[in-house]
Amino acid sequence: MSALDWIVLVGTLVFIGAYGVWASRGVQTVDEYVRGGNTQKWPTIGLSIMATQASAITFLSTPGQAYQAGMGFVQFYFGLPLAMIVISAVFVPIYYKLDVLTAYQYLEHRFDGRVRTLGAVLFLVQRGLAAGITIYAPSIILSSVLGWSLDLTNVVMGLGVVAYTISGGQRAVSQTQKQQMVVMLGGMAIATAVIIYKLPDFVSMSSALKLAGALDRMNVVSFELDLDSRYNFWSGITGGFFLALSYFGTDQSQVGRYLSGKSVAESRLGLLFNGIFKIPMQFGILFAGIMVFVFYQFVAPPIFFNTPTLEKVAQTAHAGELTALQGRYQAAFDVQKSAAERYVHALEGGAEDLAVKAELKAAAQTTDGLRAEAKALVKKALPEAETKDADYVFITFVLSYLPAGIIGLLIAVILCASMSSTSSELSALGTTSMVDLWSRVGARAPDAARDLRTSKFFTALWGLVAVGFATFASMLDNLIQAVNIVGSIFYGTVLGIFMVAFFLKRVTGTPTLIGALVAQTTVLVLFFTSELGFLWYNVIGCAIVMVVASLIQAVSPATPRGETPA
């Protein structure tokens, strides 16, 4: 990175952090710390919701996903607008009416303290580990391609977020997220414009899209009902709906965003803002990946995008094999490039040449085959190395072809995304620990100053856990996968508990607890014994809680003492 890149990067991050501290000065009570004193308007809430969900991996992985598998991933978000409507119409008014600080507090109002504790503990375990991954995932990629120290990147990023989150709580989180979102969207828009500008002069936008389509990258929507394909309209609209309902409706890192609203209307508008802009935003990020794909039809891409790993292979006894493979790859790429040029020239002349299109597809199959051989070689030379290189596509392109200054801006985009997600997570973890667990243990006289100190202490503690986990994560590669899977395994059950709470008014605490236990066991059994896509766990887990809890309630002789149906 050049000096200009460093100035842009450090300038952006320091400005946002300092602004967050300044804009949220004077926080004195737990309510101000947790809900920002209920002062937020809908644009801040909407941007804050989007910034929380957009993690660094969104910007690192999504363009790479489009590059390698096409635009179909956008369908994953089709259920999101519908979930925003349900949350706005049903969840938000109830949370406001009961004046809760966290989503789990509502579970005590509706059922009893045990269900509240279960909801809070499931959240803390899952989100506590995920916060470490939010820091670690971009660190591993940035430290690899930029040569930064992994531990230092983790610590600087983690402690920076902890500092401003503790200083101003929810208000600092929301205010910084607004700036971070502007940097993220602005940075991606500029990068996309530069990528398009870098395409050869004879390639128009229409030809670029046709070229991507010829190589099966423009499969945006598919209505085929295929349970094996990960992304199609049906899995997006159902599985995506349940996932979004669970994430935005019951995960405190998101619930905390809209509970900081000035009114029910502001919170609802913030959620609908997310519903309106989420799909276009994801489409835009995937589109950037498609433009990188088109660019690499005319300029040879690396045979394996994780170039630091490839350099390590070149240091092993397999260096000769790698050189020979790269020679074959270059020759195959030249054939593909020639076909791509002829295909585009024919399109620009007003007619699609189907013979050249077939030639282009065959050439692309050959280069894809050689890339697969390269991955196999990496695995052979370095058995411990990660052979999935999609996460490295976009950053490799950025570092190789974008001008000085823009590179710094794009690294700022990635770090902003990481920090915006982490700050919401830490804030929510601190709040839940304080409100749903600590303040319920033992009787204490109210003391605003002590409670605020305790809230800040918990935020800091979770920050240290996250940074610690990120630091040790490199030794525990399999654990990271496990953590990601654990997240999706629990979501269905948690959503089921909330769905019973909102929609099955007669069902009480004990049947719900049993339903949750049965659902969680079933999902775990399915996880270990079937190949079912993880999106379906949300639907199944949620449905089982609702059905089992209803059945038990129906056969229960009477409402147990101390449990009142809502």
């Binding site: 209920n38 635009m71 956008v74 089709f78 607008p81 519908l82 925003m84 409507i85 706005s88 119409a89 938000v92 008014p93 406001y96 009416k97 004046d99 899209l209 046709k210 991507a212 389509g213 423009m218 499969n219 945006v220 929507v221 598919s222 209505f223 309209f233 609203g261 000035k262 009114s263 029910v264 209307a265 609802r268 508008l269 609908l272 519903g275 309106i276 799909i279 276009p280 489409f283």
Partner: protein, 38 residues
């Protein structure tokens, strides 16, 4: 202190319909784009 009432005169059903309409339009546009570029 926040306003906890959810009856503020905003035409929520219309806004929800707008969101569903946007989803339908985007799905249609994306489908057309997929067909055109294939």
């Amino acid at each position: 202190m926040s306003d906890r009432s959810d009856d503020d005169g905003t035409p929520w059903p219309k806004l929800y319909a707008l969101l569903i309409g946007e989803l339908a339009v985007l799905t249609g546009l994306f489908w057309a784009l997929s067909r055109w570029a294939a």
